[in-house]
């Protein structure tokens, strides 16, 4: 067991600041908010450094604290900006479907090899831009589910929504992301009819 007194807190900002900041930025998409979360994390870690067991690395321990801060931030945002009409509204692809709910202009063939795609920094940047253009409720739900990898029950607690509503929100978020990527990255050569 590590002696907590061995923690050299004076180097934290230099050693872990950018790492924690990147972690927060991906999830919050907001520089001032991400900076605040990093600061809060270090302050909480200072206060709680007696609880650092040394079983995990310092970085892992700090990220654990940051995760809680981010969840708190989402909880606060959800309270301040409850679900809007648009969050549960019409199917984002409705304009591309007929009255019976069948595709009139279907998803385009994206082509290429996904493995190559992930290696392209530009594609990942574009993905983040598309994510940041979603409404906060859509983006936060998607982030908790797909980036944090939380289960739906836990996300419902954080966002204060029912499971049924969460399914709708995630469906909207994925559909909007898909549409954004199709328009901004893959170009549009959508097929007609089926």
């Amino acid at each position: 067991m590590a002696n907590p007194a061995n923690l050299d807190t004076s180097v934290w900002v230099d050693r872990y600041g950018d790492y924690l900041f990147r972690y927060a930025m991906l999830r919050l998409r907001d520089r001032p908010a991400a900076e605040d979360m990093v600061q809060e994390t270090f302050l909480a870690a200072l206060k709680g450094r007696g609880t650092f067991s040394g079983d995990s690395s310092e970085a892992t321990w700090l990220v654990g604290i940051l995760k809680h801060k981010i969840a708190d931030h989402f909880r606060r945002q959800a309270r301040e900006a409850p679900l809007e009409e648009g969050d549960l509204g019409e199917h984002p692809d409705a304009g591309h479907m007929d009255g019976k709910g069948h595709w009139t202009t279907g998803p385009a063939e994206w082509g290429g090899n996904p493995a190559d795609l992930y290696r392209q920094g530009e594609f990942l940047d574009r993905f983040r831009i598309c994510l940041s253009e979603l409404s906060p409720n859509h983006a936060n739900a998607f982030t908790l589910r797909e980036i944090e990898g939380l289960g739906t029950a836990e996300i419902c607690k954080v966002l204060g929504v029912s499971e049924t509503n969460l399914w709708v929100i995630l469906h909207r978020a994925r559909a909007l992301l898909r549409r954004c990527l199709e328009a901004r990255w893959f170009g549009t050569t959508a097929g007609k009819g089926s």
């Binding site: 807190t9 934290w12 900002v13 230099d14 600041g17 950018d18 790492y19 900041f21 990147r22 972690y23 930025m25 991906l26 991400a34 900076e35 990093v38 600061q39 270090f42 302050l43 200072l46 206060k47 199917h91 692809d93 479907m97 019976k100 709910g101 069948h102 595709w103 279907g106 998803p107 063939e109 994206w110 996904p114 795609l117 992930y118 920094g121 594609f123 990942l124 940047d125 993905f127 983040r128 998607f142 589910r145 797909e146 980036i147 944090e148 990898g149 739906t152 499971e163 969460l166 399914w167 709708v168 995630l170 469906h171 994925r174 559909a175 898909r178 990527l181 199709e182 097929g191 089926s194």
Partner: protein, 84 residues
């Protein structure tokens, strides 16, 4: 017979919970005959995978995104730690 609108919703839902058997079969049957919905499913899975890659990339040391704390923010945080 499920519509594409139903199927796109159920495809998303199936990524968050296990669908009841009847719905699962309905979706699979639809995907056999609808290339657009089959494509939609592949694209949703690609979106899921991309989000995971993104999380891994950002966390890697010297991560690719160049998001770094500004010097002002660092100074502010150091100050706050000193006075806490």
């Amino acid at each position: 017979m499920l519509s594409c609108k139903d199927v796109t919703k159920l495809l998303s839902e199936s990524m968050d919970r296990s669908l009841p058997l009847g719905k699962r079969i309905g979706v699979r049957l639809h995907l056999l005959i609808c290339k657009f919905c089959a494509r939609y499913e592949r694209q949703l899975l690609l979106i899921r995978e991309t989000a995971r890659r993104l999380a891994a990339t950002v966390e890697a040391p010297g991560g690719a995104f160049g998001d770094t704390l500004s010097e002002e923010a660092k100074a502010r945080i150091r100050e706050a730690m000193k006075t806490s």
